[in-house]
Symmetry: D2
Amino acid sequence: MLDILRTHIVRLFFVDFGMDIKEIQDKLAKFAEERDWDQFHSPKNLVMALTSEVGELNDLFQWLTEEQSKNSDTDEIRQELADIFIYLLRLADKLDIDIEDAVREKIEINAKKYPVDLAKGNAIKYNKR
Amino acid sequence: MLDILRTHIVRLFFVDFGMDIKEIQDKLAKFAEERDWDQFHSPKNLVMALTSEVGELNDLFQWLTEEQSKNSDTDEIRQELADIFIYLLRLADKLDIDIEDAVREKIEINAKKYPVDLAKGNAIKYNKR
Amino acid sequence: MLDILRTHIVRLFFVDFGMDIKEIQDKLAKFAEERDWDQFHSPKNLVMALTSEVGELNDLFQWLTEEQSKNSDTDEIRQELADIFIYLLRLADKLDIDIEDAVREKIEINAKKYPVDLAKGNAIKYNKR
Amino acid sequence: MLDILRTHIVRLFFVDFGMDIKEIQDKLAKFAEERDWDQFHSPKNLVMALTSEVGELNDLFQWLTEEQSKNSDTDEIRQELADIFIYLLRLADKLDIDIEDAVREKIEINAKKYPVDLAKGNAIKYNKR
């Protein structure tokens, strides 16, 4: 009963609740399967595909100054971010890694690694070089 | 009234609704602000930081065969995916790009670019070289 | 006879004549062979190794301003450039590509692609975005 | 007198002596200067340009098996290697780093880091993960 209610509420409120990672991953899996592309999507290959998209992002930013880069939400950049996201989600799916959990954990790790007072006072991370 | 109800429902059901991208982005923004790191986070710099993490991912996969790569959900790889995700979300936030919208749009674009029958029959994308 | 003369002259004048790419490639090949690493050095894997080193280079430059980057000939950066060069030469060797010829040809191609007056007047390449 | 002799010998024997890195760097510097592109060539920007080219190389290799990658000396790959080399030489020039010296030193460092018997017996580097 509660489950049914939940499903309905999900449908009603979905748009407000952020992205459903799993839903997108399923969509991408179906997309690849329908095209017989699964054979190409080993994690190793997906890392290279991700890298290739990040290379394109570098291409879009390479000659911009930092200031110019702040106002560069072009459609090309938007699509590039999407491509990177798509390959990242696909890779996590193939490796059975829960990317949401991983992100939450990593934020905890970073908080311990860079405590506010130390990080602020010394900015170790950014000044080490 | 409906808003209050929604907020409560969000709290109750959050775990079922997938990731709240915006919430994570806000957490990351606060994290940077508290440490005075915002000055370093120009989109151009964030692209390089993202690239650096993707480089580390390559390091973890470079000597693995495709087969070996299929069983490599180590903690190191898990953390690497999280790092990439974090910089990607931060970058999208700084550029005011709605990454969820961008991903949904890109999937539509890809569906038109690679129609099932054409992609399956010819596998153009993968055979062009 | 001429060959012997040439060999002697090479030895005498080597230092003036720049790098002997082939000699370095042979050294790298021997290095890998002695350690039984040849099995790992498929071109695909070497591309990932090269990428990983370029990622480290990004790490060293990511938070620097353009100005700061102009005075950053640290030993770390020096070693990183060497690593990239080493994997590039190894990759070219494995693919039987004459990297010197390729570079000279590419400079010719670029000269035609970006004629001085056009490139200078309009700076197409840098302004296209 | 000896200098004149050397110059003549260089001309006569150049083709046998490998690449003159400095000569190529000068050519690239002149190329940029003539087009007024020097303003864009900060080391930071050149790192991104190098990264972008390495991304394209990943694009060319991403769906190939390791076996297929061994027979892939296409003109596209050849040009990509040249592009990477060009940006690497340009970057080294801008940073006043002698890339030849750096490479020779790095090979020494690696020889100490991975002594033959240890590296061969245990293959530490490749098995650590």
